[in-house]
């Protein structure tokens, strides 16, 4: 995918993703930072507290006005996180703030909730933080804005260069896995930014997790820079640099803490939303069917009531299964028995379904209906728990494949069994 870049000439490249047009920065022209997230900005500008957009008399806007007066370029917007520009032998380089402003924070929440999940980027190219010089280290990162924000807010003292690669707005690890955080992209970005004119040394500090996409030896051969793999987490980067670019073993290990697991769950919901909607529709339809509706006696009213009750209960158990599989199982991952996630989901789903059955014992549901509902809840929970294998930093693809081979038949069986029981219980 890289061969169609023209690396010699000044060139604008248009990538159209959804309704967003992104203009790549060019060789020989300073990589002026600009907001490329049109959709984001449109929504955000309606926030009354967003002073950076159009307010005319706040001190904040006068700062960005000065920046604009000096550095404005047709077709570009200066990003709100840029505090000034510095002149280098390779052109003007934007200096970014070390702290998040209100706009950054709102955007972070939206990205975490999945609203702007695939569409949240900063422009690729070279940035500065603090007052770096020719001896300062160069950190390399992805152009996912959350990643960029985490990096800059974790450098509270050092003066560094930050080289942002075009990873299509995806975080370091996923981008490395997908091949966008790659040797080719790194080499290209080093060359386009004119880095060799800016620093005297030949070192690039990469996040350790980018190693999946980068081959250090090839980077050296292709552009003369030595790749040094830094720590996994941005929060260790200052300690790493102060320690003579040496990482403690703990800085090299990926963790998956309670907080890290929970942060992923809203994304799970967004991903599952469509299939959930379809399931809801199907459940309401299936639950609507019962004997009284079709009998010839004049009891349509009680038939409808029964449909409603059954529809209600089926949705409750869908909800329980989803929460159990997509929220509770991930949260309690190390504490649930078994290694396969689908099995963990069955355990958690069974506990929640039985509790729910206990609380619905006053309803008019018969034994078969209750068996159907609990089987259904357990199956849904197992399914969503299994889906979570794709989001963790320790599940091997071979393991996931084995788990799916084992559990998809079980889940399909559970779905069929609950459907049969459910329909049977209505007649």
């Amino acid at each position: 995918m890289f061969q169609n870049y023209n690396t010699n000439n000044v060139k604008l490249k248009h990538i159209i993703t959804d309704n967003v047009v992104i203009l790549n920065s060019m060789k020989g022209v300073s990589p002026v930072a600009f907001d490329n997230n049109i959709r984001n900005d449109c929504v955000l500008d309606s926030f009354p507290l967003d002073t950076s957009a159009s307010a005319c008399c706040s001190p904040k806007s006068s700062h960005s006005d000065t920046l604009l007066a000096k550095y404005a370029k047709a077709g570009y917007v200066i990003s709100h996180f840029v505090e000034k520009f510095i002149d280098t032998d390779a052109g003007q380089i934007p200096v970014v703030r070390r702290k998040l402003d209100f706009k950054d924070k709102v955007q972070t929440v939206k990205a975490r909730l999945g609203v702007t999940r695939n569409n949240y980027r900063v422009s690729q190219g070279l940035y500065a933080i603090g007052e770096p010089d020719e001896n300062s280290e160069v950190l390399v990162t992805a152009n996912f804005k959350l990643t960029f924000d985490i990096l800059r807010t974790n450098i509270n003292q050092l003066n560094l260069w930050i080289l942002v690669l075009d990873t299509l707005g995806v975080n370091v690890w996923c981008a490395a896995g997908k091949g966008t955080f790659s040797t080719q992209e790194l080499v290209k970005r080093v060359q386009l930014s004119g880095l060799e004119k800016i620093v005297k040394h030949r070192r690039l500090i990469l996040p350790q997790l980018s190693a999946t996409g980068v081959r250090a030896k090839d980077v050296k051969t292709m552009c003369g820079f030595n790749v040094i793999y830094g720590p996994v987490r941005a929060s260790d980067i200052q300690a790493f640099l102060r320690n003579g670019r040496k990482a403690e073993p703990c800085m090299r290990r990926v963790t998956f803490t309670f907080k890290e697991r929970l942060i992923l769950t809203p994304i799970e919901l967004t991903v599952a939303f469509k299939s959930l909607l379809i399931t809801v529709a199907a459940l309401l339809f299936i639950s609507g069917v019962n004997s009284e509706l079709f009998s010839l006696q004049n009891n349509l009213g009680s038939g409808l009531l029964k449909s409603l009750e059954r529809g209600f209960f089926s949705l409750i158990f869908l909800f329980i299964g989803f929460v159990s599989g997509a929220v509770v199982t991930p949260a309690l991952l190390p504490f649930l028995p078994f290694k396969a996630f689908a099995a963990k989901g069955i355990v958690s789903g069974a506990i929640f379904s039985l509790l729910a059955i206990f609380f619905s014992s006053t309803s008019s549901l018969n034994i078969a209906a209750m068996a159907a509902l609990s089987t259904f809840g357990i199956t849904v929970s197992s399914w969503f728990a299994m889906n979570f294998t794709g989001a963790t930093p320790f599940t091997s693809p071979s393991g996931v494949e084995k788990e799916m081979k084992q559990f998809i038949p079980i889940q399909a069986g559970g779905a069929i069994l609950s459907l049969v029981l459910w329909i049977y219980s209505a007649f």
């Binding site: 490395a176 896995g177 350790q208 997790l209 190693a211 999946t212 996409g213 980068v214 081959r215 250090a216 030896k217 793999y229 996994v232 990482a247 073993p249 090299r252 290990r253 990926v254 963790t255 998956f256 991952l333 190390p334 290694k339 396969a340 963790t392 930093p393 320790f394 599940t395 091997s396 693809p397 071979s398 393991g399 494949e401 084995k402 788990e403």
Partner: protein, 72 residues
């Protein structure tokens, strides 16, 4: 991350000890501490910790490591 374990005996990681030149880069890039250096050679000390991310494979200068995720 010894407390977070996935299925056992599924990782397809293979290390060719003969080929290894002892650069220790695999111990640096692996996010799960799968390798350790012993007598100037890499050894696999925690096979079940391997998530088949390919970082070691990609960076080994002499192509001494292999993973084949999704096969088998």
């Amino acid at each position: 991350m010894r407390n977070m374990r996935y299925l056992e005996d599924v990782a397809t990681l293979i290390l060719n000890k003969e080929a290894c030149v002892g650069c220790s880069l695999c111990t640096v890039v692996c996010p799960h501490g799968v390798f350790e250096m012993m007598d100037n050679k890499a050894v696999i000390v925690d096979l079940d910790g391997c998530m088949e991310c390919g970082a070691c494979v990609n960076n080994c200068p002499v192509y001494a490591i292999k993973v084949t995720p999704g096969v088998g």
